[in-house]
């Protein structure tokens, strides 16, 4: 707005005039009031009151004169958020994921201009649930947290499902929540309610390991380090740190008085030596031992240790997730019904493993194990539990329970077993190992046979889809970043697979896959994600984050045009009530995703990805996959919208 010093309508005068004009215009519309002579009013407005040059100069000086410095502070040289960035840099964050918000504008600016947008590098996310889940996926591969920045209340509300998933999956999400605690610092129209909460962390306190609301920069430094340490202590879990906007934007009074503590991570607790020796004694003496493994391995060393235990005992391993190579002769065999000793490692679903549960009108469960089967548990989950959000199943009776980290306990357990194995026991174990290897080979052959059924069906069977994908990636350094390929995929390394969304949160797995692919990027691995359509519809903007940040990966859709699990549940209800079966089959209103069908390829292309589809003929799969893989290997995001059978 240019100021004309020769008129009385200066900047401030202009604003006043505009307000008066608006009021006058409003008055003209009042019913029953005689209108003002519009012509006379117009003439008056067109002739500004003439003033002298001296008056104009005085007016200009009054308009532009700065207020005293102590009243009107307009710049800052050493904002608190610069120090906060120093703290987060010391924690070695590689990335920070965020959807921008004014409550952390100070921190945002510091990350970019002070921190140079490196370590951590800013990841632009379009939804806070995507921010948290990208961080969750990154951790699954990198083994360390990615920072997430959001604000209270709305951003934290959006983030909650990702935080709950982290809680359920024992993932150390590191969440910074901006808030404006001081009422006098809140802008009247924007910050009351929209950017401030009395106690933001309260929203998620039931599902995080620890939270804090620092009141000073020194407090922030100490709590930032403590939060990291708490998140990474077994069993791991999410933490929240509230970051006050005033602390970000106000200057640091004296930087020399601030100290960033050194981070020393906690050593995972190994099991009590006496208890471990007893576990070893029972396992070595067992005729049919069985290892049921949950989330045991944190890295390749964890996988090596689990394999060593299994081979030492020649005992089958069920589960094991990323900790057990799926085509190992001891993987997947054994039977809880015939086992005499069962070793459960970080298995939070033990009740479901050891009991037969039926979801009929009257739900029932009966034990699968023999009455005298000894169940031994080594779990870090016994060290930490919350009351409101419960990521456990029904209580399972066990013979021995050792509260300890399995990976940290395995070296001692393996050693104890080896000491107890006599030549006789070795022979028994070797014979058992041969039987299990034969059974494993037969199971692999059965899996190949199963693939042939429905081979040419359209929509495409999930088995054929998985095999076609594997066939084009098997000779590359591949990683599945969500969704399994089945037994025919040779998962021979820890990094080949990972879990997906935890806590039943449909909608999170796409973002988790993107975070994982980001962590794989520096190794140049070819990342593949089987992407359900229903999940993609929640936070599909995460795809843009992948293309924007050049995170190469291949999405192969499992598009069944329904929330099919719910279709099956509705069918169960209809059958149970003996009505409406045909309607249930059609997906009942509320569970099908048709009419219109969604063009996922178009959606992906709109966000900069290479995409093809829908593909319903299985014969079209291979050429499309080859084209898509070529694009991914050039650094692009590719998506194939493949129409599949639901199960």
């Amino acid at each position: 707005m240019a100021i004309d010093p020769n008129t009385s309508v200066g900047r401030r005068g202009f604003l006043k005039g505009a307000a008066a004009g608006a009021a006058g215009a409003a008055a003209l519309t009042v019913p029953g009031v005689a209108p003002i002579d519009a012509e006379a009013q117009s003439a008056q407005q067109a002739r500004p009151v003439a003033i002298t040059p001296e008056q104009a100069a005085r007016n200009l000086a009054a308009e532009t004169a700065p207020l005293p410095d102590e009243v009107d502070v307009q710049t800052v040289d050493n904002p608190g958020s610069d120090f906060m960035v120093d703290v987060l840099k010391q924690l070695d964050f590689e990335y920070i994921a965020a959807n921008p918000a004014s409550s952390f504008r100070g921190l945002h600016e510091s990350f970019i201009n002070y921190g140079g947008n490196k370590a951590p590098e800013w990841l632009t996310c379009c939804h806070e649930q995507a921010s948290v889940n990208i961080a969750n996926g990154y951790y699954a591969v990198a083994g360390k947290p990615m920072a997430v920045l959001t604000f209270a209340p709305s951003g934290l509300h959006h983030a909650m499902m990702g935080i709950f998933g982290a809680f359920s999956g024992h993932t150390p999400s590191y969440i910074l929540v901006a808030n404006i605690a001081d009422g006098k610092e809140r802008r009247p129209q924007f910050d009351w309610g929209a950017h401030s909460v009395v106690d933001p962390a309260d929203m998620v306190r039931d599902m995080v390991k620890w939270d804090d609301t620092p009141g000073s920069l020194q407090h922030f430094a100490e709590s930032a380090v403590r939060a990291y340490k708490m998140a990474m202590t077994e069993p791991r879990g999410p933490v929240v740190l509230v970051v006050d906007a005033s602390l970000q934007e106000n200057p640091v009074p004296d930087r020399s008085k601030l100290h960033i503590p050194k981070l020393t991570l906690t050593t995972p607790p190994a099991g009590d030596a006496g208890a471990v020796a007893e576990v070893a004694r029972l396992l070595v003496a067992a005729e049919n031992p069985l290892i049921i493994a949950g989330d045991v391995a944190r890295n390749e060393e964890g996988m090596r240790l689990l394999v060593e235990l299994a081979e030492t005992l020649q005992a089958p391993v069920q589960g094991g997730g990323r900790g057990m190579p799926n085509q190992h002769p001891l993987s997947g065999g054994g039977n809880v019904r015939t086992a005499d000793v069962i070793l459960a490692l970080n298995e939070d679903g033990l009740f479901g493993r050891l009991n037969r549960y039926r979801d009929q009108q009257v739900r029932s469960s009966t034990p699968l194990i023999k009455p005298d089967t000894k169940v031994l548990s080594i779990s870090s989950y016994d060290l930490y539990m919350k009351g409101n959000y419960q990521n456990v199943e029904r209580f399972q009776e066990v013979t021995m329970s050792i509260a300890a980290d399995p990976q940290a306990t395995l070296p001692g357990l393996i050693e104890a077993c080896k000491k107890l194995i006599t030549a006789d026991r070795r022979r028994v174990m070797d014979e058992r190992g041969k039987r299990l290897a034969t059974a494993s080979a037969e199971a692999l052959e059965r899996a190949r046979l199963e693939c042939t059924y429905g081979w040419d069906s359209s929509p495409i069977t999930l088995q054929r889809l998985a095999l076609e994908v594997y066939d084009v990636i098997r000779d590359k350094d591949w990683a599945s970043v969500g969704g399994g390929g089945g037994r025919l995929w040779n998962v021979d390394k820890f990094y080949r697979t990972m879990g997906s969304v935890n806590g039943g949160g449909v909608g999170g797995s796409m973002s988790i896959a993107i975070g994982a692919a980001l962590a794989h990027r520096k190794q140049g691995r070819l990342c593949v994600r089987f992407q359900p359509d229903g999940d993609m519809l929640y936070v599909n903007s995460a795809l843009w984050t992948a293309t924007h940040h050049r995170i190469p990966m291949l999405f192969v859709m499992q598009n069944n045009r329904a929330y099919h699990q719910e279709v099956m549940h509705l069918q169960r209800m209809a059958n149970r009530r003996q009505r409406g079966m045909a309607l249930a089959h059609a997906g009942l209103p509320g569970s099908s995703i048709t009419d219109p069908n969604i063009d996922f390829a178009m959606m992906a292309r709109s966000m900069g990805a290479y995409a093809e589809g829908p593909i319903s003929n299985p014969k079209d799969l291979r050429p499309a996959l080859l084209r898509a893989v070529e694009r991914v290997q050039k650094g692009e995001v590719a998506l194939l919208d493949t129409l599949t059978q639901p199960r």
């Binding site: 199963e450 069906s457 149970r576």
Partner: protein, 119 residues
């Protein structure tokens, strides 16, 4: 839980598959049965080609149990399968479905599928 379901369904199928020939099965119309397999929602768990294999229903193609065991299980399943009473699925329709399941041709041989033979 998913793995548990697969285990129990596999047990179900292995138990039924060993039960011999469909000698006492009523005559059914396979063409109608193919349609009914979809309309009565069997495909939701077992797949459109009765191929099974996922986390829900097991494969039925190529290993249909004998009629007495088959019909008894459909009417009153002992595991996770949802029950189909005669009100939901009349006997003649069940017979049609059974006829279609028995008529499904064998799949291509493993040796004919290159993707299954690469080392």
């Amino acid at each position: 839980m998913k793995i548990f379901l697969v285990i129990v369904m596999a047990l179900f199928v292995s138990g039924l598959a060993a039960q011999g020939q469909p000698s006492s099965a009523p005559t059914g119309n396979a063409e109608k049965g193919k349609t009914l397999f979809v309309e009565r929602a069997c495909w939701q768990c077992h797949g459109l080609s009765a191929q099974g294999g996922g986390i829900a229903g097991p494969r039925l193609a190529g290993r249909v149990p004998a009629w007495p065991a088959f019909s008894r299980y459909v009417r009153r399943p002992t595991e996770e399968m949802i029950p189909y009473t005669p009100k939901s699925l009349p006997d003649n329709e069940l017979a049609d479905i059974y006829a279609w399941l028995r008529s499904i041709p064998p799949p291509p041989a493993i040796s004919s599928i290159p993707q299954l033979n690469r080392k």
